[in-house]
Amino acid sequence: MIFALILGFLLLVIGLYGMLTQKNLIKIVIGFSIVDTGTHIIIVSIGYLRGKTAPILDGAVDLANAAKQVVDPIPSALVLTAIVIGLAVTALMLSFVIKLYQKNKSLSIDDYQELKW
């Protein structure tokens, strides 16, 4: 579905913009999370077919013509995995932020530049 696809890319760009412009570490992580969400929406959108039902083989689906009646189940399966992974990455990022804050009492990314060149 084209609307969802555009929305997904929009979110992705917004997220990237946030990551690039926000100095606060937590906000950067939020930006990353938005990028992630955008990606997930894109994945779902490419599997969606208008007017078809969920890919669950119960009474609502005629077994013989199942392939023609349901949306593509693969992207849905992929997105579930991707969401889980995204969650793990976000959590780990946040724990890094916490550790950094505990050590240095600063949440600005500009304060972590001593490694360079």
């Binding site: 992705l12 990237l16 990551m19 690039l20 412009t21 100095k23 570490l25 950067i28 990353f32 990028v35 992630d36 990606t39 894109i42 994945i43 490419i46 693969i74 992207p75 992929l78 995995t81 991707a82 992974i85 793990a88 990455v89 780990l92 990022m93 890094f96 932020v97 550790k99 950094l100 050590k103 240095n104 990314i109 500009d110 972590y112 530049q113 001593e114 490694l115 360079k116 060149w117």
Partner: protein
């Protein structure tokens, strides 16, 4: 054979169970941990063995009871097992390296480590794109978490940047996977083909490829990786740099079939660009681990480039090149990161703590040589074959970038190496702790890299023990290192003589001639090393390595054999020079110039057509038509080694700073290797003359080298530098004579080479003896040594007569031949310049003998004795040789004549002792007799009739030009030829030295400029990545 799926299952099970097992104590959980890692290596090792040697077929593992594409499948073929074997081995050894950490840390550290390695294994084996994404994330997440094993401010901030960058890359990967599915309806690599994609669909492939490529840290989107390399614990970094990179590299390899050729070319070029720039920026780096980071990033770039540019070559070559670069990088980099963790010094200058730890220093050296692509290590062979393929593909920019990048790498790696050995910084005497768990993995890896070298040499190229002799010599003498120096010296002498005897039957006359210079000359020079006290650890091994590689040069039958021996020679001579007390800069400069020369040779040989016969290269080259580009490259390469004008600046430093008994080898023999090479290409040239008259220009370079060298020699205060410049000047004569390309020219070139070998050896040994007694090389600090060291005086006197080319000694004969050759050729101007150079050489020769032996004896030298016997013996052997050949010149002229007649019609007539050319004749024997008569008759007269001789003691003539206690600098010997220098005016400026100095400054400033990209700001790094993706996107024009 164990199904590899059990590896993954075992890892996962252990991941869950370790927490429980840990309740039984850390010992138990560590046992399980290492057990699993070892099991893994064992299983994969067995598979590798089966697949490689028993031709087992590639294993496809389906999961969940369905075959692909309905389910995920894994594949284990030769490539997979090869990558996994080394990845798992590194993981195991890194695990051992981290033993202490794992003992103390929370159990989650062990679990994360296992999960990470499982991720790597699956990443390599899986054929499913989405599965790849999942395992990519599993590897990344566990790596991020492992970074916190050392919780410092630096490692945390580096880790955060890494996570952000990795997150962006994997987002793009996921998008790529999604769109590949969208366009092809499939996720399994077996079922997706390039032809499935429409033009629009290529975007999906692009996203996939660029995401993996970003993970491979391309320049300039790689700042985050550098920070990680610098800040994170060595054990973990070695896994990140090696194991993870290997897996991601393999992912790139797997998706390559999806990419159209123009994509691949761009990625290949991006790889080369990465290699070039990261090595350039490495020049400025002072932090050890960050330096390794730059090198790692570069190597991965090279790896990608080699994979792409060799795609269409035969399989065995691809294995050698890509496999070679892969293993080389993996082993050397992991090993060096481990060593960096053992030494625990950030600044390169503090690494001189290594000086006191020989075994570790040896490991460090082995890994550095391996990393820089020196033989016999895998990187050397890979580079040789890679360049050959690039030359055939006419990819000249790539060649330039690869070789220049490699040169930069050699520079910064060996600056590090020389600093570790010779840094002036005060070494803190704080011993760093050597834990077995940390030394063990490093040693194993150094061992494996040597083993791989053996395998490549023996099984791929079919080299025999003779080619490996230089290395064997080092190893054998290393075992014998406990013996006193003298015994090792005699053993070496015997070994060299035996080697010469062994080579003798293989040699044609031209080979025999160079055999005499290289082997017999070396053997006599070894005598002077017998003066060494103590054990001289490592010295004789390197010396033998150098001598054997000289010998192997003359019997080499292929370009590769020649180049191999050439590189062995470079390594050994570099290490020998490095032994000098203040030789850090000198040896580094020597290595840089030699490496640059070697790269030129490599390219030159790659351009050369294949050899037909399998006789020695110097003979078979006759039938080879070298293209002009090849001749130019080879000529420059050889002239660098022989110290020609423009590329000579390494020469005085190396000669002067080497230990005094090493200098004779460097000057008298090593320089002749360049002469040998130049003669070799000249032989090809005369039989197949191309249109460009290149040897005319080489001739001029030789002539100018002769004159400039002579002037520079005259202005030196240091005796060894004086002799060094003199060598440069003399080799200039030789090169100019070769360039004449006539019978007379080559005859005189060889005659000069032979003479130069004898008198320059003897002169350097004489100076070695004087230095041994007076502890100074500065000539104006000496004086009046004639009484104290009469034997040395007589020797130097005879030798400078020989060098200067006045009758009666052999130097005259060679000069006479040279001028005849030039005049016959019609090169009058050149002959004139050479004649002038000969006149200038009187200046420095006079200075040498006058300043050292004549004048007033210095107060501090009152008690000086004659040079030790071991220095006197070889000098007089050479002098006897010079006398004999002066008296009976046909002894040498006759064989040289027959050598030159192989290539040209003879232009001289030898009749008894008389040698006639079209310009006149020379009778060495008669000249000798006459001259002796001229000297001996007055001497006898004086002795008989001048009875009232009064010997003047030193203090009878207090005011003879100098009061003994007055400052030496007021004496004429100091800055002796200042007036000539003044007369030279602007010509006296060290222009060439300045040029190289400026080049070095410029490349360092350039490095400094580029590396400002890496601001340290995480957001900038994200921006780099995004811009990089966009730029590559537009270049590809998807």
């Amino acid at each position: 054979m164990v199904n590899p799926i059990y590896i993954l299952i075992l890892f996962l099970a252990a991941g869950f169970l370790l927490t429980l097992i840990d309740k039984g104590g850390r010992k138990l959980s560590l046992t399980v941990f290492y057990g699993i890692l070892s099991f893994n290596v064992f299983v994969i090792g067995e598979w590798f063995y089966q697949l490689t040697f028993l031709d087992a077929s590639t294993l496809i593992i389906n999961t969940a009871g369905f075959s692909a594409p309905l389910s995920i499948n894994l594949q284990l073929g030769i490539q997979e097992s090869f990558v996994l074997l080394f990845a798992n081995l590194t993981a195991l050894l890194s695990g051992i390296y981290l033993f202490k950490k794992f003992k103390e840390t929370h159990i989650s550290g062990l679990i994360l480590y296992l999960i990470m390695i499982m991720g790597v294994n699956s990443l390599v084996m899986t054929r499913d794109l989405f599965n790849m994404f999942v395992f990519l994330e599993i590897v990344s997440i566990s790596t991020f978490a492992l970074i916190t094993l050392t919780e410092t401010r630096k490692s945390l901030s580096a880790g955060f940047k890494y996570m952000i960058a990795g997150g962006i890359a994997s987002t793009f990967f996921l998008l790529g996977v999604t769109f590949v599915y969208y366009f092809t309806g499939n996720l399994n690599l077996e079922f997706i083909h390039l032809s499935n994609f429409t033009n629009l669909g290529l975007i999906s492939v692009f996203l996939l490829a660029i995401a993996v490529f970003i993970e491979l840290k391309p320049f300039p989107a790689n700042g985050w990786a550098l920070d990680v390399y610098e800040a994170v614990d060595s054990g973990i970094v070695s896994v990140i740099a090696v194991v993870n990179s290997a897996a991601i590299f393999f992912v790139f390899y797997k998706i390559m079939p999806l990419l159209p050729q123009n994509f691949l070319n761009i990625f290949g070029i991006a790889g080369v660009v990465t290699f070039f720039f990261s090595n350039l920026m490495g020049l400025k780096q002072k932090n050890a681990k960050r330096l390794l980071g730059y090198s790692s990033i570069g190597q991965i770039g090279l790896l990608v480039a080699s994979l792409i540019f060799t795609m269409h070559s035969p399989n065995s070559l691809i294995y050698l090149i890509v496999g070679g670069f892969f293993v080389n990088h993996l082993i050397a980099k992991a090993g060096l990161f481990w060593i960096a963790g053992i030494v625990k010094k950030e600044n390169l200058k503090d690494w001189n703590v290594l000086k006191n730890n020989k075994p570790l220093l040896v490991l460090f050296g082995v890994l550095l040589f391996a990393l820089s692509g020196f033989p016999p290590f895998a990187g050397f062979w890979a580079k040789w074959e890679f360049i050959k393929i690039l030359v055939h593909g006419k990819m000249f920019f790539v060649i330039g970038a690869v070789l220049l990048g490699s040169l930069f790498e050699v520079i910064f790696l060996f600056r590090w190496f020389t600093l570790s050995i010779k840094s002036d910084e005060k070494a803190e005497n704080k011993e760093f702790s050597l834990e077995f768990s940390k030394i063990f993995p490093t040693t194993i890896f150094a061992g494996i890299t040597i083993l791989i070298s053996v395998i490549i040499m023996k099984f791929f190229y079919g080299f025999n023990w003779l080619h490996a002799l230089p290395i064997l010599a080092v190893l054998v003498l290393h075992v014998l290192d406990f013996l006193p120096s003298k015994i090792k010296g005699f053993l070496s002498l015997a070994a060299v003589l035996a080697y010469g005897y062994f080579l003798y039957p293989f040699e044609s006359n031209i080979q025999l001639f160079f055999g005499v210079i290289f082997i017999l000359g070396s053997a006599i020079n070894i005598i002077s090393t017998l003066n060494r006290e103590g054990k001289s650890e490592g010295f004789y091994g390197l010396l033998l390595m150098m001598i054997f590689s000289f010998g192997n040069l003359i019997i080499a039958t292929t370009y590769l054999e020649f180049f191999l021996s050439w590189e062995f020679m470079t390594i050994s001579s570099f290490l020998l020079i490095l032994r000098g007390k203040k030789a850090q800069k000198a040896s580094l400069m020597y290595l840089i110039f030699s490496t640059a020369g070697a790269y030129l040779l490599m390219v030159g040989f790659s351009f050369a057509p294949d050899l037909i016969s399998n006789s020695a290269l110097i003979l078979s080259i006759t039938n080879v038509h070298l293209p002009i580009i090849s001749i130019i490259m080879l000529a420059i390469g050889f002239m660098i080694k022989s110290g020609s004008l423009g590329v000579h600046i390494w020469l005085p430093e190396a000669h002067a700073e080497a230990e005094s008994d090493v200098s004779p080898f460097i000057s008298a023999i090593l320089l002749k290797a360049g002469v040998f090479g130049l003669l070799m290409i000249a032989i090809s040239y005369i039989k197949n003359t191309p249109s460009l008259d290149i040897f005319y220009w080489i001739g001029w370079i030789g002539v100018l080298t002769a004159i400039v060298g002579a002037f520079l020699a005259s202005f030196q205060e240091d005796a060894k530098r004086l002799l060094a410049y003199s060598s440069m000047s003399q080799v200039g004569y030789i090169i100019a004579s070769i360039a004449i390309l006539s019978h007379l020219g080559w005859l005189s070139a060889m005659y000069l080479s032979f003479n130069h070998m004898m008198f320059k050896s003897a002169l350097f040994i004489a100076i070695a003896g004087i230095y041994y007694r007076t502890h100074t090389r500065t000539m104006y600090e000496m004086g009046g040594l004639i009484k104290k060291m009469p034997l040395s005086f007589i020797s130097v006197l005879i030798l400078i007569i020989a060098v200067s080319g006045v009758p009666p000694l052999s130097g005259f004969g060679s000069k006479w031949l040279v001028y005849s050759a030039f005049i016959t050729k019609g090169w009058y101007l050149q002959a004139g310049v050479l004649f002038f150079a000969s006149a200038v050489s009187f200046l420095y020769l006079y200075r040498l003998i006058h300043t050292i032996f004549l004048g007033q004896l210095k107060y501090e030298h009152q008690e000086v004795k004659e040079a030790p016997l071991w220095f006197i013996i070889p000098q007089y052997i050479f002098i006897i040789g010079i006398m004999a050949f002066s008296m009976f010149p046909n002894l040498i002229i006759q064989p040289l004549n027959s050598i030159a007649m192989r290539y040209f019609d003879s232009s001289i007539i030898i009749d008894g002792y008389t040698i006639s050319s079209s310009l006149g004749y020379w009778n060495g024997n008669m000249i000798m007799m006459v001259t002796m008569g001229v000297f001996i008759v007055p001497l006898i007269f004086l002795i008989l009739f001048n009875g009232k001789m009064q010997k003047v003691k030193q203090f009878n003539i207090v005011y003879a030009a100098e009061r003994p206690e007055s400052p030496q600098t007021t004496h004429v010997a100091h800055n002796m030829y200042a007036h000539y220098r003044k007369a030279l005016g602007g010509w006296g400026k060290p222009r060439i030295w300045n040029f190289w100095h400026e080049s070095s400054e410029w490349s360092h400033s350039l490095a400094g400029f580029f590396r400002q990209l890496y601001t340290g700001n995480g957001q900038t790094y994200i921006l780099h990545i995004i811009i990089y993706i966009v730029v590559i996107y537009f270049i590809l024009g998807v």
